[in-house]
């Protein structure tokens, strides 16, 4: 997995609450068997009209936001379907950091598996930073110090230490879990004894 350490970018502000994963990437793009190539269809129905033409006043179609790596957005981002195609599409578009006041659980977890940092800030801070985004100036996000720096201001954010470590080091969590193979094995043996119907083969 790609590491996330720090980032500098002009942020894009999308002031919609409850953005669901259908909105991030609609189902017609879930027929792929790959993880890549979804960026062009990110926010498809907001970005393109019925004839497939770009809607020019949608923010991610405008310069400089079309090159943005940071998305600021309304609460409960990523609700709905568990599709990991949502973070894949964001990543493929170039967005590696999201700032919101809350996320849906599955989406939040999926971000960390793909080197995307989802930052949680309270609504007041979101307001401050989204107002700043109108200036079209770069802001920095630093995961090591857990800080967002914009102009002369800085905001600290909280993050689970284990998730932070995985992002900073780009850890493969399957490899980490496989290091505990012995424990898994003895757990399986316990299951075979205590709940034999589980392995009903």
């Amino acid at each position: 997995m790609q590491k996330f350490i720090s980032l500098k970018s002009i942020p894009t502000y999308l002031p919609i609450v409850n953005i669901d994963t259908d909105m991030i990437i609609p189902k017609q793009f879930l027929k792929t068997i790959k993880r890549t190539g979804l960026g062009k269809n990110l926010f498809f129905e907001l970005r393109y009209d019925e004839k497939g033409k770009e809607i020019s006043d949608f923010i991610l179609n405008k310069k400089p936001f079309c090159n943005s790596n940071i998305l600021i957005t309304g609460k409960n981002f990523g609700c709905g379907s568990s599709r990991e195609h949502a973070p894949w599409a964001l990543l493929d578009f170039g967005i590696t950091c999201i700032i919101s006041s809350s996320y849906a659980d599955i989406f939040y977890n999926n971000c960390f598996k793909n080197g995307i940092l989802p930052i949680v800030l309270n609504e007041d801070k979101i307001k401050e930073i989204s107002e700043y985004s109108n200036r079209k100036e770069e802001i920095s996000v630093n995961l090591v110090d857990q800080k967002i720096i914009y102009g002369n201001n800085e905001i600290s954010f909280e993050i689970d230490p284990f998730k932070k470590k995985c992002l900073l080091e780009g850890l493969d969590d399957i490899a980490l879990s496989l290091e505990k193979s012995d424990k898994i094995k003895s757990f399986e043996n316990k299951v075979k004894n205590q709940r034999p119907w589980i392995f009903n083969d």
Partner: protein, 467 residues
């Protein structure tokens, strides 16, 4: 210390726990389907890993399969590749698969319980957010992303942090014509789509206990629409009777041992819940959604909200946005909303009891002439059962199309979808923008309400149609 049902299942599945509370949880049951698994298998191959416990995994093709005549295969090339990829992967890694032409094929959350793969006290995962459905059996069941699917395939475990305990009590008796779908819609309206974030919900109370197994599944199914990771219900005799004799259920003396263990799966008296909400069943009325989020609910007697009476600016703009998308004027009466389509099916309401409920309303009645209506059974076995009971005839005689099983218009990944601005009364679970087709407008309802809407041609009160 007294423990909740969720605490107990959690503790019983802990393989390892780090100091910071991050845990490795054993997974007893893993369901996979064609849409969220190909990249996981590709990941396994790329890193030369095997599936650790192929026998604990069950695969079904459901999201992408046609619901019309299947004898010619899938015409959409991409869908076809996805379904074939699932077949190839299952073969390569030794996983049991119900292919498109198997009569046991169906929506993964219908098939799992039907086969007895779903069992009390287990941890069940699937790359699908409606996995919570299986919580109706007293299991800890939740949706995961594709990277996690890969993790489960490789390790039979999942990295998790413990969620909070949230209990929702529903007591009393439901009025005639009111169903578990109305109960869960009312709950979501009450707690909001983020109300359960970070929680596992236990549904309790005498109403919940009085529900059939399938009605319980409808409730647990939509837990995700309330933002919670999982929803579960204490298992009881009804659950054990449902499971007895199913193909993958325990047999003989093992069955007796299992029931003994399952009978102890409950929340202890005095166990701690971080959050608690209560509803009275008698007060629940048939519900419909008016907007583009499952929390946008009103009763069939109610009217669409007016943004001008909303003080909170965020809420106001979100109401305006939803009304615009839905093509509705503020203060429109629910019963005045005219519909073009009716969809009965999905993992929420595509089971035999759901079809019986709709058929009961439709018997000897015709759908309105401008309405296009279809029934998509949740599985091949549901379809077969319905045909044995003659329900297919009732639907066909009222003017419905009788289809092959699958997800169909619940997410419109196959050919079944709404056209822009078409309005649908749907028994599915999501009314997001574009969910049933770009520009399509969805009103979530119970199967009986969907039947009533088909007859009336507009949203209508099912209580008027009780035969």
């Amino acid at each position: 210390m007294p423990h909740t049902l969720y605490d107990k299942i959690w503790n019983d599945h802990l393989v390892h726990e780090q100091d910071d509370g991050t845990a490795l949880l054993f997974v007893d049951r893993h369901l996979i389907h064609e849409v969220t698994s190909p990249q996981a298998f590709e990941g396994l191959r790329n890193s030369n890993r095997k599936v650790r416990q192929p026998s604990l995994t069950l695969a079904v093709a459901d999201h992408n399969v046609p619901t019309t005549d299947r004898s010619k295969g899938i015409s959409d090339q991409e869908s076809k590749i996805q379904v074939e990829t699932l077949e190839a992967n299952c073969k390569e890694f030794g996983i049991k698969l119900f292919g498109m032409n198997d009569k046991r094929q169906g929506i993964v959350h219908v098939t799992g319980p039907e086969q007895g793969f779903t069992q009390p006290g287990t941890v069940i995962v699937c790359g699908d957010s409606h996995t919570a459905t299986h919580g109706a059996f007293g299991s800890l069941a939740f949706g995961i992303g594709t990277s996690e699917v890969e993790h489960v395939l490789a390790t039979q475990t999942l990295v998790q942090k413990k969620a909070k305990n949230f209990r929702i009590n529903v007591n009393g008796k439901l009025p005639l014509g009111v169903t578990s779908k109305d109960v869960i819609l009312q709950i979501i309206g009450k707690i909001g789509t983020a109300g359960g974030t970070g929680c596992v919900i236990e549904y309790a109370g005498d109403l919940i206990r009085s529900l059939s197994v399938e009605q319980r599944m409808t409730i647990c199914n939509m837990t995700i629409e309330g933002g919670a990771r999982a929803g579960l219900i204490e298992p009881d005799e009804k659950i054990f009777n449902y499971l007895k004799g199913r193909p993958m259920s325990p047999k003989g003396s093992t069955w007796d041992r299992a029931v003994e263990v399952w009978s102890n799966l409950n929340s202890d008296d005095g166990s701690h819940f971080d959050k608690e909400v209560s509803l009275t069943a008698e007060e629940i009325i048939p519900m419909v959604t008016w907007g583009t989020s499952p929390q946008d609910v009103i009763t069939i007697e109610g009217k669409v909200p007016n943004p001008n009476t909303e003080k909170d600016l965020d809420k106001k703009s979100s109401i305006e946005r939803s009304l615009k998308y839905m093509g509705l004027k503020p203060d429109t009466l629910a019963k005045d909303i005219k519909i073009d389509k009716v969809f009965i099916g999905s993992c929420t309401n595509g089971r035999i009891e759901d079809l019986r409920e709709a058929a009961k309303i439709l018997k000897n009645k015709k759908k309105a002439s401008h309405v296009h209506a279809m029934v998509v059974p949740g599985s091949g076995l549901v379809k077969q059962q319905a045909e044995q009971e003659g329900l297919d005839k009732i639907f066909i005689n009222s003017g419905f199309e009788w289809r092959e099983p699958g997800c169909s218009m619940c997410l419109a990944m196959n050919a079944d979808k709404l056209k822009p601005e078409e309005r649908c009364a749907s028994t599915s679970n999501r009314n997001f923008e574009g969910r049933q087709g770009r520009g399509g407008r969805t009103h979530l309802v119970s199967p009986g309400m969907a039947a009533a809407a088909a007859i009336a041609g507009n949203l209508d009160d099912v209580r008027k149609y009780q035969n």
